[in-house]
Subunit: 293 residues, 2 copies
């Protein structure tokens, strides 16, 4: 099938904070996918992002586009928990004659919290695991821990740990760590343990990491592992009620879920692991069914 | 006096992680100063940095240059605490025929920690306050709390809080806070209190801050104040043994020391405040005296 023969029935779009992915859909099956290393903001907004993602497909007027992510920054469309991850119906805005349906995020007022895509991954996980109860941890630049019971999100809590790891490892005085092939899991586990026991010392632990790199006391390659371990350990400390003695699922990119799973395993907490993209597509497919009703 | 008449006896240089400052010295007095918004690394190294700073002065061969900061990245010159902030004597390396004397930093092996200029500010503070005992908190991208007794640094602990505030407020998903004229001290105090009582929730507090900005729940202008308060509050939580019931001095830029002083004051801890540049110059002047002995 050549590119110009790709004529989707509908289009699914996952707008993450660091990547955009679209699927050309025929019913419940993806016939093609497109990816951009951009956010909605850096792509120039919703319209230009949709145009860039679907540029090589034939998408006729009237086609439904279902999108999750930070589409509406005003927060007007947010839904207070407890509630089902998806609403009863989706409303549309027009772009190029397409009917664009944005999945509303979940919200808590005090302290302020919201989801911008996590609700759709949760819906996808529940669509693939009917009747599942427990806590879903969605990893990424923002991680979200969501307690799910009887098909509803009962409570959730987000953390900026992933974004802090990204910033500190790329933009900070720690960014001069020598390149490594991967994360040393022993160094990672030690840092998780240090941070879990003294989470308030995060900025001191980070300073020790840099001092170790400057003085040569830090083993080569240990830097990135310890950095991730310190931030994930601090998150586990604050998220303890969400994972201690809970039925757990981890939804994210494989490199992220591997670290969270190892950190949780060291605390005796096992977790089911699921791929973020697959859960997003399942959630968007469930959301697409709401349009027809 | 025109620029080409500036002929220093010696040159004092404070190489900070975000700024370089040099003073043309006649005995104990500065006759001119030069400033660059750069680090030694971004200026191209020690030689080019010295050339750029002193380019408009007449600095003859044999002139002594005394410099503090991250001059020697190898850590070989570090001095384990407890020790006096300055060594007994300074050794020199040559540049352009000048005798460049770098003040060695202080070090602790486990957990790794080091100073790269703080030791010189401490020496300056003690030169101006003879016989002073207590704890000096040196604010900045890296903050250092140093316990001083009988002229020696007994222990110290550094934190990366300042750099995290800078990164999060300029490079992160929080960086879209609307511009403000300054820090709202009530918002700052509330965030310090939140973070002091639950320091392990830093990444959750930061996520709440972003969610509040997205949903409009955060008052305009509260963002930068709460960001600084969360990081400084977490630092105060971990540094408690350094400030609780101690004779305290804050050394830093005025905008930093004002925030730390307010946060400490709310915990009932008063502090003497001193300017970082003035303490650096006093410390470099004390270090210069070591060359002659």
């Amino acid at each position: 099938m050549t590119q110009d023969e790709i004529r989707p029935d509908w289009v699914a779009v996952d707008a993450g904070s660091d990547a955009l992915q679209a699927w050309a859909m025929k019913g419940g099956s993806a016939i093609a996918t497109a990816h951009k290393n951009a956010s909605l903001a850096s792509a120039g907004g919703l319209g230009p992002a949709l145009d860039a993602l679907t540029g090589e497909w034939m998408v006729p007027d009237g086609t439904a586009v279902v999108i999750c992510g930070p589409v509406d920054g005003s927060g007007e469309a947010l839904r207070p928990v407890p509630c089902t991850p998806l609403p009863d119906r989706l409303s549309a805005v027009a772009h190029r004659g397409w009917a664009v349906h944005a999945v509303p995020g979940l919200a808590r007022k005090t302290p302020a919290d919201l989801t911008q895509g996590a609700e759709t991954r949760i819906a996808g996980f529940l669509a693939l695991n009917p009747g599942w109860d427990g806590v879903i941890c969605l990893t990424g630049p923002t991680s979200t821990w969501a307690e799910v019971s009887a098909g509803e999100v009962v409570s959730f809590q987000s953390f900026l740990s992933g974004e802090m790891i990204d910033l500190l490892s790329s933009q900070s005085s720690l960014a001069r760590f020598p390149e490594t092939d991967g994360i040393d899991m022993a160094d990672f586990a030690e840092a998780v343990s240090d941070s879990l026991s003294r989470p308030e010392r995060l900025a001191a632990h980070l300073s020790a990491l840099r001092a170790g790199a400057v003085t040569g006391a830090l083993p080569p390659g240990a830097g990135p592992a310890r950095l991730s371990g310190l931030l994930i350990g601090a998150e586990l400390s604050a998220a303890r009620p969400y994972w201690l003695g809970q039925n757990l699922a981890l939804v994210g990119a494989s490199e992220d879920t591997r670290l969270y799973a190892a950190a949780l395993q060291a605390q005796g907490a096992g977790a089911t692991v699921a791929d973020a993209g697959r859960m997003a597509l399942a959630g968007l497919t469930a959301a697409h069914r709401l349009i027809r009703n």
